[in-house]
Amino acid sequence: MTAHGPTAASLVGVTKRYGDAVALGPIDLDVPAGRTTVLLGPSGCGKSTLLRLINGLIAPDEGTLRVLGEPVTPASVEALRRRVGYVIQEGGLFPHLSARQNVALLPRWLRWETPRIDARVAELAALARLPEALLDRHPGELSGGQRQRVALMRALALDPEMLLLDEPLGALDPMVRAELQRDLREVFRTLGKTVVLVTHDLREARHFGDLVVLLRDGRVVQRGPLSALESAPSDGFVRDFLDAWREAP
């Protein structure tokens, strides 16, 4: 649990409740730095809650949580968020701003100079494979896949140390999905950042994941490379979950 060791985020005994219902935990988990961790599980298993905890959008009721070596407190959370890019479900792009303005929102607020912002936006467009001609469109004038690319660019604008993605491919049709999936993996490889990606889709987990964390009812059921889960499922649920996807068309 050293500040900049191989661990990007660590959770010890973290619990989150909504009223009487436990949404997550108690959970112990280390997110390794520089690799892609996939949080996998059926809907309602707490994987999005876990992501929101790491980003500080919600605070744990119990346990300790350190992200990038720092405890997540109300005082540290804003600075921390600028070191952690976050792509929420469906992108969350601001409809009143163009793609370029969405990406440049934070750099502009941090008073970067215009040439630096322009260079960064161009660099990110190339990385995310978004045609520059689309940068001046508003989100409503972009396709679902293009919107996700812009959301990725926005999350990466400040070159964060860590990237969180919540079902980034959720609402896309299969063709677009396959293409974006390839491009995303390319980006993760190029950047070599810590990535935490939430999905309910085993095929996506296989595509992205160095490390898979399978969750059920707010608890970690098994963690490790997907091959390890498949060869040695820790219990009946793991086997059932994997089988269900094997039977899927």
Partner: protein, 490 residues
Amino acid sequence: MRWAALLALCALGCAPKAVRVGSKNFTEGVILGEVAARACAARGAVTEHRRQLGGTAVLWRALRSGEIDAYPEYTGTLAAELLRGVDARDLRGMRRALAREGVAMTAPLGFNNTYAIGVPEALASARGLRTLSDLQREPGLALGLSHEFLDRADGWAGLRARYGLPQRDVRGMDHDLAYRALSSGAIQATDLYTTDAEIAWHRLRVLSDDREYFPEYSAVLLYRADLPRRSPGCARALESLGGSLDAATMIDLNDQVKRRRRTESSVAAAWLEAHRGLRTAVASEGRAERVWQRTREHLAMVLSSLLAAVLCAVPLGVAAAKRPRLGALVLGAAGVLQTVPSLALLVLLIPLLGIGAAPAVAALFLYSLLPIVQNTVAGLRGIPTALRESAEALGLPPFARLRLVELPLALPSILAGVKTAAVINVGTATLGAMVGAGGYGQPILRGIRLDSTATIMEGALPAAALALLTQALFACIERVAVPRSLRGGR
């Protein structure tokens, strides 16, 4: 900058203060106000007539707070409404009671404007009718009385008892219809006010109240007790009007304005010149000039109140959206304000803000709060959670989130609220004329008073046009300020 402020202060404080005469919102009141103001002006005083300021309460408050220096009043109103427990015929008692309020009173102007019974002149002279007592001899006379006069305890019932009147054929009818019924012979007598222009117009004889049944409503001028010190010439001019106007003269002056459509100013000026030898100038302005003046007053009221409301209501709306309990309180308070009738609110504001544009602007400001606060709250609360969280997840502090994301997203809703407030203000500002703020309400009030549709239209048409223009203007603002992705449909 400092010089400009000093100059402005000087303009307010150093200039000789004008004598301000007020008048109530009815023709006789405006004529008397104009006579008083011109009599003062003829003695060299800088005079201003703030005409048709609404009802008794407005004028009385304005006089005591020093917003105006003088206005015409009736002794009956003083006795019944303003100085409880003083008899309307006891002028000395009335002067003493007024002095305690810092107000002085001229001698009665010479006529008594009270209820009376009128009979066509031809019939009256044929039957020898001069007094109400004479009616005892005429049991067959058909009476058409206004509903109000029939209903009031001090109206028909009391009158019949006092004089022992035998008439059986007594009908309630509208006042205007009563005059028509008189000329067609369907009725032979009706109730009226002793100085109604209609008396001349329909050739009626007013029967004198020989048993002093009707209350005394002698016209007087009230003025502030400090006026003789500030403008001795003006105070003398007002006092000299005592006893100068009899009922026949007043009926004639009312008739000149009401039937012959002359302005109060020219009627008052002509009378002063003919009977008092005082010459005063009658400014004549064209209709275009008049409408432009009203437009400026109206716009000033609407714009200043709206600007202040936006500056106040948007932050209030933001606070209300962020803190639900505070929100309930703010919206509740703004909602209650909205239910206060506009005229009542205007009158309530007079002791605080005087008369003129200030109370009107304040009232419009208060009425504008609710739609803007409400729409700000709705706009902010309507932002999808995903967008609000996106802004938070980016690491923007709360104020930056508000400025860069939340307010722009709520802008269409906020603008709609401002538009609602603006359109309502354009309409409500017409009531400002009741407290001397001018605007399009001025011709509307005057038109209602004189029963002149043309005059009403001089205010109503531009007010409607301004409301439409406001709508159009906001459509333009929306097109410029709201990105196309947030406009309609999305």
